[in-house]
């Protein structure tokens, strides 16, 4: 058996020069977070807090309007309690995510308004973070408990044109598809960036530019596929029928509107 040459036995430590490339990690994290959000919503087998998506969407907008208009802390407090009750009904995982978003919005509002509070504006620092928390909670409750295809279907009931819903549906699907593709490119860029990358902007622009070209190719493929299946430019969405639960839900909402007027 031949001897191993000496140069092969010698250790060759290689320390790549350190580089500041947090932008790559951050881009990867934001894409991974986005894609996991898509997966978690499509994994919802049935909507949570079941009332029809149409009712949920209308109610979420109503709540945001009422909370924005409210000038008394009493009503905001009532809505906070109501949001807390709904949040308490969620499974722990969804609950944690809803709360994280709401707390982040409230903390940001607090931070932004702190200088004005120090200058004497007490109303903003108490009201706006509380309102932000409540509004973001309701929007998160809506998007975390409803499958997004049902939510776009609900837009149909608000007389949104078919074309618009069609574009939204495609957008949601292709954010996931193109997002996967973008993530693969970022991983590839990460693997190839050993040591110092002098062309950071160039490589990132290359990845983003390729994403544009890919999106063009995908839209042509989609168009041909749709045309092959007889697509003529007309798009119809299925309607969702309301049930007795929606009746109960709207009675509750009527109560909240009355409470708004009673408390203001």
């Amino acid at each position: 058996m031949a001897d191993i040459p000496q140069w092969l036995t010698r250790p060759e430590p290689y320390e790549p020069p350190k580089d500041r490339d947090r932008f790559l990690d951050r881009s990867i994290v934001s894409f991974v977070t986005l894609l996991s959000r898509f997966r978690s919503q499509s994994a919802l087998e049935r909507d949570l807090l079941w009332v029809s998506p149409v009712s949920k969407l209308a109610a979420a907008v109503l709540y945001v309007v009422l909370v924005s208009l409210a000038r008394q802390f009493g009503f905001v407090y009532l809505m906070l309690a109501y949001a807390a009750v709904l949040l308490a009904l969620l499974p722990a995982r969804e609950l944690r995510r809803c709360l994280a978003g709401a707390f982040a919005a409230a903390a940001l509002a607090y931070l932004i308004l702190l200088p004005s509070a120090l200058a004497g504006s007490r109303y903003s620092i108490t009201m706006i973070p509380a309102k932000a928390f409540v509004c973001v909670s309701f929007v998160n409750l809506l998007s975390r408990t409803t499958r997004w295809d049902r939510l776009t279907g609900a837009l149909r009931r608000f007389r949104f044109p078919d074309l618009f819903i069609f574009v939204i549906d495609i957008t949601i699907k292709y954010i996931a598809l193109l997002g996967e593709f973008a993530l693969q490119m970022l991983y590839a860029l990460r693997l190839r960036s050993v040591g110092r990358n002098r062309g950071k902007y160039g490589s990132l622009a290359g990845a983003a530019g390729t994403l544009f070209l890919k999106s063009r190719a995908m839209s042509e493929e989609l168009y041909y596929a749709m045309e092959c299946r007889g697509f003529t430019g007309e798009y119809r969405t299925a309607r969702v029928r309301p049930t007795w639960r929606d009746g109960v839900f709207w009675a509750l909402n009527a109560g909240l509107v009355l409470a708004y007027f009673a408390l203001s």
């Binding site: 919005a105 109303y123 292709y174 045309e227």
Partner: protein, 324 residues
Amino acid sequence: MHIPDNYLSPVTCAVMTAAMVPVWAFAIKKVKKELPKAKLPQLGIGAALTFLMMMYNVPLPGGTSGHAVGGTLIAILMGPSAACVCVSVALLLQALLFGDGGILSFGANCFNMAFVLPFAGYYLYKFIRERVKSKSGEYAGAIAGSYFGLVFAALLTAVEFGLQPLLFRDAAGQPLYCPYSLSVSIPAMVIPHLLVAGPVEAAFTVLILAFVKKVSPDLAEPLPGKKTRGVWGLLLALVCAAPLGLLASGTAWGEWGMDEIAGLAGYTPAGMASGFSFNALLPDYSVSGLPEVLGYILSAVLGTAILVIVFKLIASRKKPAGQH
């Protein structure tokens, strides 16, 4: 730049949404004319691309990073009307599904990022590209368009924030929504965009444009259209100032101090105009007693002067080349 709910009054949100309705109608009509009906899936994929462009983190000096918006880039690649529709859809999904940007403030966010940003950016790009007919002219247009498009949008966001404490106060005089007036909101929004976010946006835009032109030149061909006229800046400033005029007219029936409005709102159109038009930068604008605003206007003057200098240098470099 996404405005969350509760920072703008519902009245402001309604006015901004009302201002956006004709823009959406125009954009959809234009897109339908330019794009065959059956090729509409492109819009959905364009919106998905717009959404994802905002997710790229771009390196900043010192090892930190920030994200670009890409509105002007989308407008250059797909046309401003298609960009308006795509950015609007992306913003709607961000508000509705991700809680990023408010539901009530959706109209205001669209006005800033789906209308002003891509249209201002695109027409500035087109204006320069038509006058400097070379590769560097096109890139200079993309840089200037994306930079100023973003800064205009940031300025407008700041004005929307800054008008809130002037217009909406409770009986005790406490501001009901964003408590910072124009003298705070404008420097706070515009200076970081002038110094950091703007250059990032410009670099991101021009590099992607250069990449696409190199790899797939047929896709990055300039879109056909009428030649832009010099009045575009003035028109744009008027269009942008229109909803603000509506807001200011609300002072007659409100509960706020008229002196305050007269003193502060008086300079707003001046600030707007100097932000949106080359010709409007006249030296006789009254800025006395408002040092922050003076600082902002000076920044705008400096930015515009730099643009003119770059524009002239490119034009003068081109001439000798043409004579040889």
